[in-house]
């Protein structure tokens, strides 16, 4: 009789709450002041990577656009010269756009990329007040120039970059 009384039940419930309050690890974080680290293979917004010398990894091959199931990527390419070099090979992306409203974060672009130029990063804060803002241009996607590197386009010495596509190693995880 006493066992089923409302007070006992209430006490039991409050005990669980109090136990969580004082003895268990807190899960709530103060976002956006605080952010949670993402998983190692998290697929957030894309970034366009650079080599250490600042040259862009992207060679403008459009394979990401071909692989994209949502038709979110648009690439136009042009030719590098030693006076105006963006990437180590013959070709670079003169236009690179991703429509983030279309992107489904499948990562196929990453798989298709022959130079590991495009990777899905850790950025997940994507909110827009204008549809146009959702189209990320090459300038917004490119990572900043690493220390010691130079911004693109670079002036390079003739005969240094003679390959059509820079030699690549097997992908490292």
């Amino acid at each position: 009789m006493l066992k089923d009384s409302m007070l006992v039940q209430l006490g039991k419930g409050m005990f669980t709450t109090l136990r969580a309050l004082f003895f268990e690890k807190k899960v709530t974080i103060q976002y956006p002041e605080q952010t949670r680290p993402v998983a190692r293979r998290y697929r957030g917004r894309h970034v366009l990577n650079r080599y250490e010398n600042g040259l862009e990894k992207c060679i403008g091959c459009s394979l990401c656009a071909a692989a994209c199931p949502a038709d979110a990527i648009f690439v136009e390419s042009a030719e590098n010269t030693d006076e105006r070099r963006f990437s180590p090979g013959e070709r670079y992306a003169s236009t690179y756009e991703i429509n983030m409203l279309r992107c489904i974060y499948c990562g196929f672009c990453e798989d298709a990329c022959p130079t590991e130029a495009i990777t899905l990063g850790e950025i997940y804060e994507l909110s827009f007040t204008d549809r146009r803002e959702a189209i990320f241009t090459k300038e917004r996607l490119l990572l900043p120039v690493p220390t010691g590197g130079e911004p693109t386009p670079q002036v390079t010495e003739p005969g240094k970059f003679t390959r059509s596509v820079p030699a690549m190693q097997n992908p490292q995880d």
Partner: protein, 808 residues
Amino acid sequence: MAKLINLKINGTPVTVPEGTLVADAAKKAGIDIPVFCYHPKMEPVGMCRQCLVEIGRPMIDRATGQPILDDSGQPKLQFMPKLETACTNPVSEGMVVLTSTEKATTGQKEIIELLLTSHPLDCPICDKGGECPLQNLAMTYGADQSRFTFEEKHHAEKHVALGDLIFLDRERCIQCARCIRFQDSIAGEPVLAFYQRGRNTDIVTCSDPGFDSVFSGNTTDICPVGALTTADFRFGARPWELKQAASVCAQCPVGCNVTFNVRREAKSGGGYAIKRVMPRQNEQVNEIWMCDKGRFAGYPYTESTSRLTLAPAELDSALSRAAAKLAEAKSDAVILAGGRLANEDLYNLKQLAAALGAPAYLYTQMGGGETTTAYGLTAGSNLGDLGKGDTVIVAASDLYNEAPIWHLRLKAAAQRGATLIVANARATKLDEFSSFVVRYAYGDETETVKGLLGKEKVGEAIKNANHLVIFYGADGLGLGGTSALAAACAELLNGKTGQPNNGLIGVWSTPNQQGALELGFRPAADLASKLKGKTVYILAADPAGDDPRLAEALKTAKTVIAQDILATETTRLAEIVLPAAAYTEREGTYTSAERRVQRFYPAVPVKPGTRVDFALVAEIAKKCGVELEGRSALLVMNKLAAGESAFSGLNYASLAEAVEQWPIIGRGDLYYGGTSYENKLGLGVILAQGAQPFNVERSTMKAIRPQENELLAVPVTKLYDLGTTLAPASRLAAQVERFAGVVLNPVTAAKLGLENGGKATVSVNNVEVATQILLDESVSTGVVLIPRSFAIPLSEPAAVKISVAEKA
């Protein structure tokens, strides 16, 4: 009809004519045998070894000549101990070909592995990537792993400019020699060759300037790898991103079938832009080829900054003003139409002219049109059928410069055994392939053609020809001269017309002059006098830019209404300018000089601020109170077919009919025939011959004989000139520069103190023009060749003075 041979390929019975190669027989049966060096348009060489198959032939008893039978009564087969190449083995009776046995597939796989040992991994950036036979065949027949070490790849020079238009990547080349063989045997300009041996074998050009051929673009189509690529498409787009629009080349009267590849671009504000021009197969017209002029100059002008446009309200008011002027002038108006207009435009124009009661002239410097409509080619004609027993005459035309694809087709006809007679006052490239070369002095064209029958062997060849095709041009001739020449040519054809592959072809300078002629448009003998004081409506022509006398005449005209796509001297002079849409932006039909009506389709949207020619004409007519069809090209064509006897029975559906052609070209078969496009949208229809018997005018023209201190200037056509549609093609600037100048015999030049490449002033028709001097020994002394569309106004032969330019 050749003897038919029965054989079995992979168990499928196949029947093909004797002499067919195993590779072709398999293709006809729908069985793919991978090939790289073999091309159905060229003789096999068996260089790449990719087409390895097992071939078994029935054993023959030497005593009886009968096949030896096995126990079950089947012929005993004898297989070679090793694999054989399908491209070099002709079929034989009872042959058994196995293409996908383990032995054959291993052989094919190993050849691909060998080809790939030194092939760079450029696919992501290679212009051929996506339409590359090596890529496709490596995926289908190749191994997934190579036994060769990546580090040992042979590195060679990349991005070598063979000429201004073609780039070579030596690393990608697999030494199939398709390009060399094309230049040697099809183009007849052997400017490519192998250099060095073994692994160091390179393609080199042995001409100066490099890759000196007007067919160079075709080598990129048949290159089975990305070794040869065109300059204009370099990194332009990936092939899978391109959309295709079927069209007809508008650079000359041949009417080559082409495909415009378009895509949307940020560079053009998100709109569609033409990225390249590719040939489209039509075995009756251009086979699978096209010339560099069409490929590199076919579209840049349509995107030129000098395109005319008007805001909608302004365009409407311009149309109203134009209509008011024409309605006021009525029969005092003059309509002048250029050969760039499509049949539909011309039909509407003809109706407008009839309603106004105004004369409508064709703007051209070449006459004889009334002769070609009555003596032209008829249905069933195909220059590709000409061969032994047939005769082709080329009179006063330099086909290599005026219509390169005809040059190529006639060269092939001559090699098949046709008698080719070239009559010209100077040496042309076709001479090399002709059976007879007839030389005359400029001014004697008509007499020479009339005298051909009198010449022993030439006369025999003409009289006894199974088929007789005559091409005549305006090399060194004006309007009157060409009319007389056409009449003389027609006389040779008497009694032969009406049958396929017999007829007269005018080598016009515009794509649809034949269409205008069929619709009854005729050139005016003395145009300048006909324009004075009139209300002139000029469409797709630039008389003011061509001839200062016509410019003067236009200045005295009451009103000039000019309708064109680009700003010209005439549009600058005109009171009312109507901006027209380019042919790449619209639908329509052209009639080639072979009288084949062919459809072209829109590739890109109509440029804002312009309208299609027939719609502009219809709008003016409406404002004048005449109802004409202006809504769509199809509706105009329906009226055209109903109203014009020459076009009767034609409609857009019949023009769009296509049948399967040989060789098989197409996306899945690009390893076989190259990247030329399959024709799915129409082979065209040849018009019925003009029914009315035509009385050949026996006019003769008087040859001009210059005075002592003068030279005889004759107009000639150069492939690359400064014409309105060619000038915006920046890729061809170097070629244009090379031809820019008047041509003299070195002896004549020496007398005048002129040097090759020197500057001089030409004074012709009271105009002085500074130009360059080019020397050519094949030109007669006392003659100066003045190229058309190079700012020197010369519409017909005239006496000129040339002096050395004063040094500044």
